[in-house]
Symmetry: D3
Subunit: 243 residues, 6 copies
Amino acid sequence: MSVTRIDGRTPNQLRPITFTRSWLNNAEGSVLVEFGNTRVLCVASFTPGVPRWLHGSGKGWVTSEYAMLPRATHTRSDRESVKGKLGGRTQEISRLVGRSLRSIVDMQALGENTIVIDCDVLQADGGTRTAAITGAYVALVDAIDWAKGKGLVAPHKTILTQSVSAVSVGIINGLPMLDLCYEEDVTAETDMNIVCTGDGNFVEVQGTAEGKPFDRTLLNGLLDLGTAGTAQLAALQAAALGK
Amino acid sequence: MSVTRIDGRTPNQLRPITFTRSWLNNAEGSVLVEFGNTRVLCVASFTPGVPRWLHGSGKGWVTSEYAMLPRATHTRSDRESVKGKLGGRTQEISRLVGRSLRSIVDMQALGENTIVIDCDVLQADGGTRTAAITGAYVALVDAIDWAKGKGLVAPHKTILTQSVSAVSVGIINGLPMLDLCYEEDVTAETDMNIVCTGDGNFVEVQGTAEGKPFDRTLLNGLLDLGTAGTAQLAALQAAALGK
Amino acid sequence: MSVTRIDGRTPNQLRPITFTRSWLNNAEGSVLVEFGNTRVLCVASFTPGVPRWLHGSGKGWVTSEYAMLPRATHTRSDRESVKGKLGGRTQEISRLVGRSLRSIVDMQALGENTIVIDCDVLQADGGTRTAAITGAYVALVDAIDWAKGKGLVAPHKTILTQSVSAVSVGIINGLPMLDLCYEEDVTAETDMNIVCTGDGNFVEVQGTAEGKPFDRTLLNGLLDLGTAGTAQLAALQAAALGK
Amino acid sequence: MSVTRIDGRTPNQLRPITFTRSWLNNAEGSVLVEFGNTRVLCVASFTPGVPRWLHGSGKGWVTSEYAMLPRATHTRSDRESVKGKLGGRTQEISRLVGRSLRSIVDMQALGENTIVIDCDVLQADGGTRTAAITGAYVALVDAIDWAKGKGLVAPHKTILTQSVSAVSVGIINGLPMLDLCYEEDVTAETDMNIVCTGDGNFVEVQGTAEGKPFDRTLLNGLLDLGTAGTAQLAALQAAALGK
Amino acid sequence: MSVTRIDGRTPNQLRPITFTRSWLNNAEGSVLVEFGNTRVLCVASFTPGVPRWLHGSGKGWVTSEYAMLPRATHTRSDRESVKGKLGGRTQEISRLVGRSLRSIVDMQALGENTIVIDCDVLQADGGTRTAAITGAYVALVDAIDWAKGKGLVAPHKTILTQSVSAVSVGIINGLPMLDLCYEEDVTAETDMNIVCTGDGNFVEVQGTAEGKPFDRTLLNGLLDLGTAGTAQLAALQAAALGK
Amino acid sequence: MSVTRIDGRTPNQLRPITFTRSWLNNAEGSVLVEFGNTRVLCVASFTPGVPRWLHGSGKGWVTSEYAMLPRATHTRSDRESVKGKLGGRTQEISRLVGRSLRSIVDMQALGENTIVIDCDVLQADGGTRTAAITGAYVALVDAIDWAKGKGLVAPHKTILTQSVSAVSVGIINGLPMLDLCYEEDVTAETDMNIVCTGDGNFVEVQGTAEGKPFDRTLLNGLLDLGTAGTAQLAALQAAALGK
């Protein structure tokens, strides 16, 4: 294909992806993930015990909170802590990240332990929620390994049934493109986020027509591109984890 | 197919759908929509003028707020007004309804007018967000006709480029099912909401693996079922509007 | 008297009153009450157990929350859940409805059970708080009968010592009028809400001079009209309950 | 009558009432009012200009805010500023005080000026809202005289059409009593607040059966007692103002 | 020195200081403290028991809340309870007062009891936080004596290891001045608050260059003046307490 | 001195200090500052225009917001955005950082422009507020140079009258120590933060006795240590800026 993207990539090419593990000294798992200029700090905090509604269930809990620093974006946004309320977008993405991670966790194997994964966007250039999910998985693996090392969960247990990664895809000038940067994202006619397990099944599919509604053919094109992208990300996660 | 659903429907059968227009005396458009026992009051309020960021743009604005009465559900929930904050689910659905409606509105044709569509769930039995979108469209049509009647928008203008409707689909015991009721919804392995225009294109596709991740074949099955369901709903909307 | 009211009623005539019981499928008591165009959904939720400060007291608790849908009124109001705080009017009426209902409940007989009564105004045309009290009583009776049927309270116990109903009265052009509709309410010089038991005693009397202060003679006229009105409402409640 | 009250008063006797004017150095009107041990600081702030919705109307605005210091009562209450929301009781009383004062103000004569009257309860021993209204009137007179002295309103204008005062009455052991102190208030079967103008008309009448509902005879007894009490208070206000 | 201050004081002279103990009837300790026109009501509430994180520690807890009435200042400020959030200044001063008092309390000797000290500024003319600390100490002594009298703490225990007082100092026209009033405060180049124990040691030193940064010589001058001022205040506290 | 500190430093030795400029792509000034393991991202956002109360004054505005990521500390803290309110500590530090920066800005020279400096603690190991001030100065210089480059302020104007830096000092086992790490900070008897200009004058001095009150000699020792430390920091800032 001879389409030229803003940053010179081909339509099905990811941006440069990096995972910097143990970015913080004290957290059980901490990863600075970068999708091009998008930079998200994913920190997994492991704590024995579960919320009240799970007491005595033998099951664990995994949840996530997503946020952006005020100047992660081109112009400064007001802090939600100062405004005194969480925006709808923040809550929506926090819920998405949490669900995505829970889909691969065997809560029975985790036992009555809680893992909270904070995803703070330090710099935003499109695809922050998919970078967050992809980095959060790596932090989650590290936190579980830490807990196994401490004897807080049994070392032989398989707590994560799969890996999970996510990528955005979109239609620009009628063509599906992988892993949109901000400048592409604002012009996309349709924007879709795809969350897949390492073995290629879907955890979440969220497509939105920003401009005109899209037909089944374009949807299929987006799904093809997204599953290929998440497969690449799964390989990069495995490499980062040395597995 | 010989599968028996909880309420005796076939897998691809909608629940009984009704639209009661002009349910309120004063609103520009008001529809009580029922999908079986799910009952949502959709009210469109038309006001000349737009939010500040659209002043002078010549364009209109359409937005939506979704909420549930405290005892719409089996057990009473606390009011968000009493808690002093909106939950993530409420904001997420409000945003979805608003986006869905905006996808079919020609804001230039609407001119500098604002339509707010309140979707209040009086009784919840699964599929409240899809019923809300489906009923909101009918209320929107009525509000625009009212505005044309009052001369607030030019009668000859085509403000709505399409109709829009929505339905939930899900996988139960490995099989795709249309328009889940609450009891089905809690047991579904995957839950998907599909929003389509009257001419069969996608506005939103949101699928979530509640249990195990789903493969492309199941996804295709859900998409087939959903597009067939929204086509039926489009016909029912047209009938209710006498068009 | 030859005074003609806006809607053709005589000064001491109620609007058409209807009670639709079991308006919801799942609530222990639910009544759609209508005073003319005023339409309030009153839903009683019965739960075993009491707030902490009543633990071990052997006594029950009854409380109420009143709210309005955003487009219940002629022009749309912002949601209190979106604003993040309850308005003074909302809290004031919630407290009034709760007090009125508690005045006729034998908390010892109720035992350690809680009944919350939600009064949501679907359409407002004056007298929403008095309609709420009047409908809430009927929902309360149904919820208690449900609890007796379930064996949650002893069937032979008299939990409600009386019935209770409420009506608004006001002075328009110097003359006392019963059950004001919205258009009358805004022009009334004095507005009074009267809450009475079925045997004709006062539970609440709240009169406010909106325009010029009123003398004892007018006050007496309002009290006469109000007690006659609540007596009629008590009869209508009994009829709706088939008692 | 030979009834002995807790503090030795006769049933129709007020507690010792004092008004200390100019209790603050800078406020346009400030009065420390005492009804026995109840001590309320009433401060009137006069500002040229009105809220936006009155711009250009030629009319002024009077409003009030009531609050209690945390240890005004026998046991300490949490601050509403710390809790981050106003309680229903606080808002209800603020609204009552504001309405009562507005009932005697000629807003046209006041012109486009705003008076806010803060009533802060420093010590509470029953009847705080009625003491607040009674003291606020005196502060209001002082603020208006100040404004006349400054030429902010024309000196010859009659801005206050009447005086206004308020008192609580209640039924204790079946007998009406005037101006209840806290210890009486908690045992009262019925509690009523009466707000009257100096010429003896009613501005507000709010009666609540705390225990058993009350009949018309008792209501009449309370009204007699209340109007006699407010007449005495009107005389005390006039004396304090040197009029 | 021949410098003339606004109110005729010498640079190292305090304003007239008064302590009115037992200003409220019911509080365990209550002091109206005045530093010239600054008037703060300091009320100590003693309660058996401690916050959860101290249960079983054998230690007590002392905390403080500072606030201003809306018209304590020259122009009216909005209430923080109405705004729904505490301002930064309020929280900062509350924390300072609490820390200052805790510095002289032997929590082990206090035992599992809590003392909350509310400092409400009734009139503000500069130095409200230092007046609050100085008055709060006196209220604290009274509350502890009350608790000893009630047998809630052992009478022979020394709970307060020292007295504590505070004063503001500042640089005006290049000269250090003691105990600034509001008019001086707004023109000061540097503003410093000094909290000292009765035996002359520092508990808090907080200096801020409002205008140009200050050198070590000026800082030393401020510290000299402040320690002399707090020594005088310690003597006045002792006199007020009859010790 | 032969005292050994936890991390092997001498009492008057700073931790390793680094400034990474332009840490973000889009901000006008962005510096990742590190004091040992303490890591703060300081981002200066430059915007033409000023808050309403400065319109037409010809003066600019500089302000700051300080915050911590939830897992910057050893155990995870709840987000203030989720709690819906800013803590007192957060507001206190934000105010301190803002005041410190404003002390060296010539607002007239800045003209009607606003600079907001966000200081987000990514990792906390003591001294976060002093690191924030020290890093914020560097970001501020870069933002002003950017604005000069864009012609938004005149290149020849001296907007910053001085540099500013800050350091913590404390008393441990009776000895003054410079630049405490977290482990030292929790055991310090006295904790002091000193903010100085590059030419050695004080902007802020804030000392608090965490344990026993401190005398003048110890205070002098802390001031000596702090001024020496800020002098070193000023040199490091200049080096980082290549000046």
